[in-house]
């Protein structure tokens, strides 16, 4: 038996070994990440390449696993809310809402009406900030350095507004079981009211300067085509599914909170390619602005936290519930089981990014490396959410 030592075969860890065994001859195993400029965090993708072409790609997770689900078993429900801000740091409000909603469902707590409006406003603002950040970072992936600065400039105004009631700028733990922590004061409302026309005035500029740019269009059109069938198979939701023409939005299909009161569209695109997902997200920013506008107008006076709201040591009554909300990346689901004890018995988090990322191996096959990066960016992943 001859044994030969090939650096290609012996270098790397379990994953690369496992991967290399199946490799064809004359191909290159490239390890993208966990530290790589376009994996946005610590995603690792092992890619088998033939020249510039991707033959196989396999995302590898686990570099940012923080055991959120296990932590839920050792904390009381109220103590677990700060964790939710850290699952998906870009759309922390939606995760807040998903968990709080699930617990409220078990306990049968009715949230005051004003709190419902505050939840909608903050959640939609947070969605805009998430989409803006995605937009800037995606263009950075494509080699345009400037848009991210403009996106951050807009986002900054938004964070300033959200900072007033929440006290934080990124990992919000603003929602409470039975309402929200603080009312939106005049300072915050003024900032939000000023932000809406400001962002509306900027969006046409972004369209003219960036979206209609021929280089960008050539980079994102017709790459990463995801068929609706594939989306369904992998459970993709959010802009990824809507970019493939699937009209599914939790806010519309399984309305929660007071979303059924608002008049807004669910943007979809029939393009199915990265451009479709891009268009959907850009259109969603406008729809979120519409929702916020209506919510600001319709918002009643009153409390934002239910009377006799649960204390931190409050025990969730026995039972189980599932609550889903629409996050910036798709359907966020939280499944909670309580046995009536001090802590929750089990909490399962359904992260949309996980399903969206699982498409990647299939979609990126046969593309060139630059396209694979562009596809990865168009899926809009937040790695902490995927790893949890």
């Amino acid at each position: 038996m001859t044994r030969y030592i090939d650096t290609e075969q012996t270098a790397g860890d379990f994953y690369t070994h496992n991967f290399a065994k199946k490799a064809q001859e004359g191909t290159l195993i490239l390890n993208l990440g966990p530290q790589h400029p376009s994996t946005h965090g610590v995603l690792r993708v092992v890619v088998e390449m033939d020249g510039e072409y991707v033959l196989r790609a396999e995302p590898i997770l686990g570099y940012l696993h923080r055991m959120h689900e296990k932590m839920a078993e050792v904390k009381t429900a109220a103590q677990f809310i700060p964790n939710m801000g850290r699952v998906d740091y870009l759309h922390a409000m939606a995760w807040n809402w998903a968990f709080v909603g699930a617990v409220e469902k078990i306990a049968g707590i009715e949230v005051p009406e004003r709190a419902e409006y505050v939840r909608v406003i903050t959640c939609e603002l947070n969605r805009i900030s998430s989409h803006l950040l995605w937009w800037g970072a995606y263009l950075l992936d494509l080699g345009a350095f400037t848009p991210i600065m403009y996106a951050f400039d807009d986002r900054e105004k938004l964070l300033d507004a959200l900072q007033v009631p929440t006290g934080s700028r990124l990992t919000y733990s603003y929602f409470r079981i039975g309402g929200v922590a603080q009312d939106l004061n005049d300072d915050c409302l003024g900032r939000i009211r000023a932000f809406i026309p400001w962002l509306r005035s900027r969006m046409p500029m972004y369209k003219d300067l960036v979206t209609d740019n021929i280089i960008l269009r050539k980079r994102i059109e017709d790459i990463g085509v995801i068929e609706p069938e594939l989306c369904r198979r992998y459970g993709a939701t959010g802009p990824v599914a809507r970019g493939s023409g699937i009209n599914y939005d939790v806010r519309r299909n399984e309305p929660y909170g007071i979303y059924s009161k608002f008049d807004f569209d669910i943007p979809t695109s029939e393009l199915k390619c990265a451009r479709g997902r891009y268009d959907v997200r850009m259109a969603e920013i406008e729809q979120s602005l519409r929702i916020i506008e209506q919510a600001l107008e319709m918002m009643p006076e009153g409390d934002v936290l239910v009377k006799g709201a649960p204390k931190p040591s409050w025990k969730v009554p026995a039972g189980e519930s599932y609550f889903a909300v629409e996050g910036a990346r798709g359907k966020i689901g939280v499944y909670v089981v309580s046995d009536g004890g001090k802590n929750l018995y089990r909490t399962k988090l359904r992260a949309p990014g996980f399903c969206n990322l699982s498409l990647f191996g299939e979609v990126s096959r046969g593309t060139i490396l630059a396209d694979a990066v562009a596809i990865l960016g168009s899926l809009d992943m937040v790695i902490p959410e995927i790893d949890r």
Binding site: S38, E52, A144, Y150, R219, A370
Partner: protein, 326 residues
């Protein structure tokens, strides 16, 4: 003969010094312009308006440890940055700054520039190949394909001008043009100018054609593994190459030192600076093209256009000669 030799030595020393100074200025300009394009002030803390920032950057680069990855080829690895920088010095020799102001007047100045600028791709290939890094290798492969492809339309565009001027001597080409913009070659060769500009971006690996170092795909491409001055030399060579292609564009298309009122060298520097600014603007405005698109632009558009332009120019030049002789 010794006098000639000393002359060249002095010229090389002056060129080396000015390339260093140029690098420092360009670093500051690039960062400052980028800052203002991105709605931020750019370097601000060191010196007035951050003017001393490039010195700090340079000191930092010099002071950093020179690191070589395991399994890299030591000779080739360290040869590459030097090789990328050295030819640049030669490139500045035949450039006429003003009437009679040039390091070395030579008949084949244009040819020299084209020949030596081709060497930079060798450095890029060596750097990527020798660093035993897959990103470096991919970057090098891209760099070679790109430079080889873009050299052809560049050459053809340049040839059209030298057909018209009847000389490969850069000073002669400038003398063939007049004081005012409508007497410059850009008026007779607008297509060649455009082709030259696009190819020059490709040749110098500047965005939107910065594929060999595409940072979001290849981390840093061919210079991924270089630290300290190894990286610094690549960096300096990039800026020097930019200055060279802009200077050649000025000489060939924009009338070189010609211009009203102001003295010649000032005009020359002004024109070069404007072209450099244009390159900086492009970098901070556009996304990167994809590799196959990059090559398609070259083979499907630039090359046929350049050939057609060259043939037309040759025809008209001959035709004019025929008419004059008759």
């Amino acid at each position: 003969m010794p006098a000639e030799f000393i002359h060249i030595l002095i010229a090389l020393a002056v060129v080396a010094a000015s390339v260093g100074a140029l690098g420092l200025v360009m670093v500051w300009v690039e960062r400052k312009v980028a800052g203002h394009i991105q709605r931020r002030p750019g370097p601000f803390e060191v010196g007035p308006n951050g003017l001393l920032q490039p010195f700090c950057d340079a000191l930092k680069l010099v002071g950093k440890q020179l690191f070589m990855p395991n399994g890299a080829d030591p000779i080739l690895f360290w040869l590459a940055p030097v090789l990328s920088f050295l030819p640049v010095l030669v490139l500045f020799l035949p450039l006429p700054l003003g009437d009679g102001i040039m390091a070395q007047n030579m008949n084949l100045g244009l040819l020299l520039i084209l020949a030596f600028s081709g060497l930079s791709v060798l450095a890029l290939l060596l750097g990527g190949w020798a660093s035993n890094n897959k990103y470096g290798l991919l970057g090098a492969a891209r760099g070679v394909a790109q430079s080889v492809a873009y050299e052809i339309p560049l050459l053809l565009a340049v040839l059209a001008v030298s057909f018209q001027a009847g000389s490969l001597n850069l000073a002669e080409v400038v003398k063939g043009q007049g004081t005012w913009p409508w007497q410059w070659n850009i008026m007779t060769q607008p297509l060649a100018f455009l082709i030259y500009l696009v190819s020059a971006l490709g040749e110098t690996n500047r965005a939107p054609f910065d594929l060999p170092e595409a940072e979001s795909e290849l981390t840093a491409g061919f210079h991924t593994e270089y630290s300290g001055m190894g990286f610094g030399l690549f960096f300096l060579a990039e800026y020097a190459n930019m200055a060279v292609v802009c200077a050649v564009a000025t000489v060939l298309f924009l009338g070189g030192w010609h211009g009203p009122i102001l003295p010649g060298p000032l005009w020359f520097v002004l024109k070069v600076s404007l072209l450099l600014l244009l390159m900086v603007f492009l970098r901070w405005t556009y996304p990167r093209v994809r590799f196959d698109q990059l090559l398609n632009i070259n083979w499907k558009w630039l090359l046929p256009l350049a050939v057609a332009n060259l043939l037309l120019t040759a025809f008209f030049v001959k035709f004019a000669q025929y008419v004059v002789v008759k």
